[in-house]
Symmetry: C2
Subunit: 110 residues, 2 copies
Amino acid sequence: MARPFHHPAEADVTLDAVLHALSDATRRSIVAKLIESGGMNCGQSCGDLPPSTISHHHRILRESGLILSERRGVAVFNSVRRALIDRRFPGLLAAILPPPPATPSRSSLS
Amino acid sequence: MARPFHHPAEADVTLDAVLHALSDATRRSIVAKLIESGGMNCGQSCGDLPPSTISHHHRILRESGLILSERRGVAVFNSVRRALIDRRFPGLLAAILPPPPATPSRSSLS
């Protein structure tokens, strides 16, 4: 049987761990995709990375408190603990993640 | 003769390195003190830490692009490259650093 995931309680979520987790471009990309999609299965959010790398990045995100992982059958569904992070560190995700690609326009690139 | 300090050019400052540098509470405290004071000598901003630890933290901050270190006689004066960081990562320092202790009041703790 698969081991249960460990998620830190809100009081145990530290800025050290959250910033460390977000100090990697791949992990920021995962978080951005999870926010944009409202959550997705492990693998969908990582492109062509090897499974061990995907697992590693999700573990660091989960243990920092940034994401919630839930087993759904044989898959693992991940979502960002957005409310928790916004309560603990207001403005942080908005400052770190790229804005969602809602209405791409040339002028926004200038 | 002391080695010159290396400071990355603005284009070489990465969010990975800046977030890594800020993922340590001691380094965040140094940055907060440097912003509050407008800059200070190495050592003034670190309390009672050993010199090698002070030097280590300042090196990580400097190499990430967060601070500027200048030799002034035998001392080293450090300041935050605030304009650069605010241009590259708007809102980041405000989201990460504690607000300055300007007017402490009980109500702000509730």
